[in-house]
């Protein structure tokens, strides 16, 4: 989450590292830094290097300049995969955000039965994506699934075999899985809002709806940005869910970038172009996260101005 602005007064740094608890703590960052370098930076550099080579994953790696990049960028599958990725990103954001906020606000109230509901709501969070996908796939099977089992005609759709329906199912399953997580974030955020604000607005005659739009929403602005960043950047890496649920199909209707990368690299043995897609994925993630940060302002204004 965003932090409040640091105090403008600059404390004089002590010159000796010895001086008690204010000594240099930079070394404390070393374990995390090492992990990050070993499992973040080095593989990333490796992928960038691989994107300038030709490699089938088995034989020798041959440096080949921009061959892989031209091959990857010329492939009509790439713009399609980018389009699918953004479609999933935007649609899942549009579905998840309002529902998560509403559930979060609902659960923030301290009432016993809501605590019980909260526990129920969080169950999907405990399940792995692969398990969820397999379950939904079985439930949605047009011949042996839910529709056939209960004899409900409208449930007997070609859920994963029709382009539009498959995308819809995907968004639904993503939302079903992640809404609990985002609700949890919003619940915490809403609880942070001082009750004095609601009391003051009540004196001014504001109703529930007005309170929600004038107090709750503006107060959780930074939480919305945090949650959106998680959703947007997270949707770039949806892989297991799509892989198990639709395999990118029907045809290539749900083949997002991560899946395209996997198929290029590990199915078609084209590690070079697959690495290019990986680089594109990383860049998109960084750019999107930065954009969302900008959207949230510079982080130097207080959320509680005038309180």
């Amino acid at each position: 989450m965003t932090t409040l602005a640091p105090p403008a007064v600059r404390v004089q740094e002590p010159t000796t590292a010895k001086s008690g608890r204010s000594g240099s703590v930079v070394w404390m960052a070393i374990p995390a830094l090492l992990m990050f370098i070993a499992f973040g930076i080095i593989p990333l550099l490796g992928v960038i290097a691989l994107s300038f080579t030709t490699w089938d994953g088995i034989g020798d790696i041959h440096p080949s300049g921009l061959t892989s990049w031209t091959a990857a960028l010329k492939d009509p599958g790439l713009p399609h995969a980018i389009w699918v990725t953004f479609e999933i990103m935007i649609l899942s954001w549009l579905v998840q955000t309002p529902i998560s906020i509403m559930i979060g606000v609902f659960l923030a109230a301290t009432k016993k039965y809501r605590g019980f509901l909260a526990v129920l709501y969080f169950v999907p969070l405990l399940l792995s994506s692969a398990a969820i996908s397999i379950t939904y796939k079985a439930l949605l099977d047009p011949n042996f699934g839910l529709g056939a089992g209960f004899g409900v005609e409208w449930l007997k759709q070609d859920w994963l075999g029709d382009s539009t329906l498959a995308m819809g199912v995907l968004i639904f399953v993503v939302s079903w899985q992640y809404i609990p997580f985002h609700s949890l974030i919003y619940q915490g955020a809403v609880r942070q809002i001082p009750t004095s604000m609601y009391e003051a607005s009540m004196i001014d005659g504001a109703g529930r709806i007005r309170q929600f739009f004038s107090i709750t929403l503006p107060q959780i602005k930074y939480t919305i940005i945090t949650s959106s960043t998680l959703m947007v950047v997270g949707s770039l890496t949806f892989f297991d869910l799509i892989y198990v649920l639709t395999g990118g199909g029907p045809g290539d209707s749900t083949r997002a970038l991560a899946l395209e990368m996997y198929q290029k690299g590990f199915m078609a043995n084209l590690m070079g172009p697959a690495s290019c897609i990986a680089v594109i994925l990383v860049l998109s993630g960084v750019v999107l996260a930065q954009l969302l940060r900008r959207l949230g302002g510079r982080g130097d204004e207080s959320m509680q101005e005038g309180v």
């Binding site: 994953g57 088995i58 099977d141 047009p142 011949n143 994963l160 029709d162 199909g249 209707s253 590990f266």
Partner: protein, 446 residues
């Protein structure tokens, strides 16, 4: 049961009909499984063996290894079994990292070629020349998919698996129709089944290679086996045959004419749902590999036992060029030896090849599981409930003028992925036949 571990087939034009038939008929010396020529005795080697887990293959493979280890106290083969899809990734990664097991199990064809190109597997040509007794025990038609650039890099093992047209006899009786003798019969049957609310064909479209089996037969019956031979040989523009366009149009007409069960694109073969549709009578027919018989027998209750299941080679297309005896599928599974293994380990592996893998127990084990072994003279073992099916599969395999390897296995992984992708789009009506041809011409020889 069989899952998709058996469902990987290959396609190399093998004009081995006459040779195969003769080989089957000829009674080879059924001598005891004595050791092959290479006798390095004193040195002890230990080989690692990676293969697929699950019934019915795993217990048979394990039994073979146990037999070998018992008979050869100074050497040891250690198996590790993986699930089908996990195995495909794991073996590729291990070979790429120089950590390959001594014995590399696979499907031959394009995948094997990528190992050969990377100098990761041992050339067995000379060894087979010196050990003609071993070579003579195996069906000649099975060697094609284990051969790269004229040299044998993998020993055919396990079973021959042609793809056939299955049908539900009970459903045919209920609707009052006869099994199709030709493609026009199929077209005539489609509206009749649809009118009764029964899907003409079951198809697990999400798995993609299931759709491919249709294309393999449709292309062969329409245009003959030469088109794919040319594609396999890497001749530019091989798909640009007017017969290919004709065939693709026919396939899309089948899709549009509701020949396949509604929602076929949602169905996967991994769960065997396509086969369940056939034995539950929701679908009348299905094109599937011979391994499907075992699955239906195990899962379909008394369906197979009561004679509910019928099978035949895919019928000819009227006016088509293909030989109606041709078939498609897996000419065998394949074992290669890693070139990174030590000399002693390689010797152990070769000893395993020349003794246990061609012995009578091995043959009997696969027959018992409902498969036709790649080993010659299996016909006498075909007894009991499955005899007719096994005989028919053996006849189809040996009588085929061309036993073609499944496309996705014959081609390089790069071309195979594009192929499967475009086949899925073709069935989804996302590409036109002309676009399909253009896309596929783009990856010929890659």
């Amino acid at each position: 049961m069989f899952n998709s571990n058996f469902s990987r087939r290959n396609f190399i034009g093998l004009t081995a009909g006459a040779a195969g038939a003769a080989a089957l008929a000829a009674c080879g010396s059924s001598g005891p499984s004595d050791k092959g020529g290479s006798d390095s005795g004193s040195k002890s080697g230990s080989a690692s063996y990676w293969s697929l887990s699950g019934e019915p293959g795993e217990p048979i493979r394990q039994a073979a290894i146990d037999r070998f280890n018992k008979a050869n106290a100074d050497t040891k083969i250690t198996p590790t079994f993986f699930q089908n899809d996990a195995y495909k990734q794991k073996i590729k990664t291990a070979i790429g990292a120089g950590q390959a097991p001594t014995l590399i199990w696979g499907w031959g064809g394009g995948g094997l070629k990528s190992y050969v190109d990377a100098n990761q597997v041992v050339d067995l040509t000379d060894w087979l020349g010196q050990n003609a007794a071993v070579k003579d025990k195996i069906l000649p038609s099975s060697f094609g998919a284990g051969t790269v650039n004229g040299k044998v890099y993998a020993l055919p093992v396990e079973t021959v698996q042609p793809i056939v047209l299955y049908y539900n006899k009970k459903v045919f009786d209920k609707v009052g129709v006869q099994p199709p003798q030709s493609y026009s019969d199929i077209l005539a049957l489609i509206p009749k089944f649809n009118a009764k609310g029964i899907a003409p064909f079951s198809l697990a479209g999400q798995s993609r290679w299931t759709n491919m089996m249709w294309l393999e037969f449709m292309l062969d019956r329409q245009a003959g086996s030469e088109v794919f031979d040319n594609v396999f040989a890497g001749k530019a523009g091989s798909w640009s045959d007017p017969q290919v366009l004709e065939m693709l149009t026919k396939v899309q007409d089948l899709v549009k004419g509701n020949a396949f069960i509604k929602g076929f694109s949602s169905i996967t073969a991994d769960s065997n749902a396509d086969q369940a549709l056939l034995y539950t009578g929701k679908a009348a027919m299905m094109v599937h590999g011979s391994w499907s018989y075992g699955i239906q027998k195990a899962d379909g209750g008394s369906f197979v036992k009561d004679g509910g299941l019928g099978w035949m080679n895919f019928p000819p297309i009227d006016g088509g060029k293909g030989d109606p005896s041709n078939t498609v599928g897996n000419p065998g599974q394949y074992l290669s030896i890693s070139s990174k293994a030590s000399a002693a380990d390689q010797e152990t592996a070769k000893k395993f090849f020349s003794t246990t893998l061609v012995d009578d127990d091995e043959k009997a084990g696969w027959v018992k599981s409902g498969g036709v072994p790649v080993l010659k003279n299996s016909d006498s073992l075909f007894t009991g409930d499955d005899a007719q099916f096994l005989k028919d599969m053996s006849t189809i395999a040996s009588g085929a003028k061309t036993f073609a390897q499944s496309w996705d296995q014959a081609l390089s992984p790069t071309a195979a992925e594009t192929l499967l992708d475009n086949i899925a789009k073709l069935f989804q009506l996302q590409v036109t036949p002309q676009q399909w041809v253009d896309n596929m011409n783009g990856v010929i020889g890659k």
